[in-house]
């Protein structure tokens, strides 16, 4: 049983490290984990779930906004700002960066750029969503097996 748990914890750590390496998550995600404690053990899942739900809706809104006759670039810029903010707060840098590029296209009123970039934002969102869901799944397995979540530190490639 112990060996099984250790293996699970090892898989979890490896998975986390791969997410950092790929830039899917950054140290802000770890900051959130630092805040999680016994008084609120579901804090990270709660905040991430909020981000995922909000972002999904924002992406839908943006898809609609960009197909309007007269595209409201200001509104689209503001929507992307929201998503940029929340992705930054949970530590999802690739989503954040896609939002920044999108905002630049909005400022240029470049509809084709916006549409292309929206696809990018969607891709990054789907990616981080699936990775986080897999991560939570692994965490649940560890906790269910009676283990504690290992302390995580990202491997810094420049070190």
């Amino acid at each position: 049983m112990d060996v099984g748990l250790m293996q699970m914890q090892g898989r979890l750590t490896d998975y986390m490290n791969s997410l950092f390496k790929e830039g899917i998550l950054d140290s802000q995600y770890l900051e959130l984990h630092e805040l999680q404690d016994e008084s609120n053990p579901g804090f990270v899942v709660e905040v991430v779930s909020l981000f995922l739900t909000d972002s999904e809706k924002l992406l839908d809104d943006l898809s609609r906004d960009l197909t309007q006759q007269n595209v409201d670039f200001k509104r689209a810029h503001a929507q992307a700002h929201k998503m940029k903010g929340s992705s930054c707060s949970i530590g999802a840098p690739r989503v954040k960066n896609a939002c920044i590029v999108f905002q630049n296209f909005c400022q240029e009123k470049n509809i084709r750029g916006c549409l292309r970039c929206l696809q990018q934002m969607k891709q990054e969102f789907v990616l981080v969503k699936s990775k986080l869901e897999a991560l939570f799944e692994l965490e649940q397995q560890v906790v269910a097996a009676g283990g504690s979540l290992p302390k995580m530190q990202p491997i810094n490639p420049s070190v």
Partner: protein, 222 residues
């Protein structure tokens, strides 16, 4: 205009004694339209044993503080807010506009107000600091930021940090550049702040034209 040094050194142990809850408990009003960010800032503050009231707009913040012009039945003797942390970009009323209203009030003009933003636009930062904001914090806000803030509000905390925009440094740069926009954030101030003079000759720092709306490309320390 008072010297930045005076403002930064302003300590109010008397206020701490009468704040809500125990003598050590700070009551913080957090203002952010993002639910995700509200949850995070709330958690950060609670982790540091602060009492938190989180609202989603500048208008709600004014309502809470009784500054919205409505007759309020809440006695202000009961309402002790030791620190206000507000996001800058909010629909309706920006953090800057909220800051102005707070500083115009007699009840809360002495309450430290901190602006948070994911964007570091120098003109914006300047405006907020000149209007009396205590700090301009880069998002995502970290536990260490809030810890430092708490120490500062309770008196005697270390003010200078490389993650902050130091009001004094911006003023010094302003003087040096004769009206041009100041240089971007300077390297960490490691000296005693009372002795901090305008001797830093950061000729390597680029200056930005006042009319530029370009974002500062400051590498955000992770």
């Amino acid at each position: 205009m008072t010297m930045a040094g005076e403002i930064l050194r302003r300590q109010s142990p008397a206020e701490v004694d009468v704040c809500g809850g125990s003598a050590q408990e700070l009551h913080v009003l957090a203002v952010d339209d993002s639910l995700v960010d509200r949850k995070v800032i709330e958690k950060l503050l609670k982790r540091l044993s602060c009492k938190v009231t989180a609202v989603d707009s500048g208008l709600r913040a004014l309502q809470y503080l009784g500054l919205d012009g409505e007759k309020s039945s809440v006695g202000f003797d009961d309402l002790k807010v030791n620190l206000i942390m507000t996001d800058y970009s909010m629909p309706g009323m920006t953090g800057y506009e909220l800051l102005k209203k707070i500083k115009e009030s007699s009840a809360f003009r002495e309450t430290p107000v901190v602006i948070m933003s994911s964007e570091r636009i120098l003109a914006r930062i300047n405006r907020c600091l000149e209007e009396g904001a205590e700090e301009f914090l880069a998002k995502p806000v970290k536990l260490s930021d809030v810890e430092r803030l708490k120490n500062f509000v309770m008196g005697g905390g270390e003010v200078c940090s490389d993650r902050r925009i130091n009001k004094r440094r911006l003023e010094e740069n302003n003087d040096r550049d004769d009206g041009h926009a100041p240089s971007p954030v300077s390297p960490p101030c490691s000296c005693d702040r009372a002795a901090c003079t305008s001797s830093s000759s950061d000729s390597s720092s680029p200056s930005i034209a006042p009319s530029s709306s370009k974002r500062l490309k400051i590498h955000h320390q992770g």
